[in-house]
Chain length 184, copies 2
């Protein structure tokens, strides 16, 4: 059985997007990042992906050439009318309207021995953390200050979440990945 | 000429004390930390220390056995009536009422070829950053969530501060030190 991982990229001052909802500064290194061993390994070990509706919409439903070639479970209130692009033998879409527990459960079944990777946004990762569904939390810190925007660590009851640092990875472009085990 | 370094310890969610102003959870590793090579080296390379009045008061003016045995410059509005404890040939106190530029300038002179270490609190480190006085920023992240308290990165205009990651150090007890060059 694989693990459930959740990852988020934030600025050093804790924001996951800027005051306009823009994430481009946080992913300015995306082309480089895709080539790293860390992401290549994540792609191999990921058996299913869970994402929120916003992340899905940000890709405009087009997952052609998407890095994770695995079943994707999109947590949403309403199933989009338009079919997503980019489906193939490995990459399929399931829209889950019954809540995060159901999305994770379905993803676990699909992933088999591999990991389930929750790629956000913030809201879905927070839901997973609160519900005790995450085993590993990966916080990528970019060496910049956004000053304002959406904070990742907001409305999270500290007492619910105990962390143990597992490893720290220095990635290109100043990106630092802090990996924590979530202690239950 | 040495550098001006500023360091701060914060929780993963960005707080430098909890809702009661307590810092004990952030320094639960203090005894261990003192023994690390990193702190031992910092002690050697530090030629002068700048701290705010709150940090001074938190030590209750008693610096007997203080890790930094160097001239200490305390930024304050009012010079305390009671003389501090712990002064010796190497460790002396200067109370600076003319503002942060003056404190840093005096500390630089005292430090000579060694570094000036600004040890906080948040307010003084922020003042240093805003005034462009810091060359290296060390953010220690502890693997815990405080949920509320005083945020370090608050009221800092992002546009003023450009950072470049220099190194990342994994310290005991899950403490991770991110070192940044402040680009001017």
């Amino acid at each position: 059985m694989g693990k459930v991982l959740a990852g988020i990229t934030m600025s050093l001052d804790g924001f996951i997007n800027d005051c306009n909802g823009d994430v481009s500064q946080l992913y300015s290194d995306f082309a480089t990042l895709r080539e790293t061993e860390v992401l290549q390994e994540a792609i191999i070990t990921t058996g299913a992906v869970v994402m929120g509706r916003r992340a899905y919409d940000m890709a405009e439903g087009d997952f052609t050439g998407y890095e994770f070639q695995a079943p994707i479970f999109v947590l949403t209130h309403h199933v989009p009318e338009k079919a997503p692009k980019g489906e193939n033998e490995r990459l399929s879409f399931t829209f889950v309207t019954e809540g995060i527990e159901s999305a994770i459960e379905k993803a676990k079944t699909a992933a088999g021995d591999k990991d389930v990777t929750v790629i956000g946004g913030a809201d879905i990762v927070q839901q997973c953390l609160r519900a005790g569904l995450v085993e590993e939390l990966q916080i990528d810190i970019m060496p910049l200050l956004l000053g304002e925007g959406l904070r990742f660590f907001e409305h999270l009851a500290a007492s619910q979440i105990q962390l143990e640092r597992i490893k720290v990875i220095e990635l290109p472009a100043g990106r630092t990945e802090l990996c924590f085990r979530v202690i239950k």
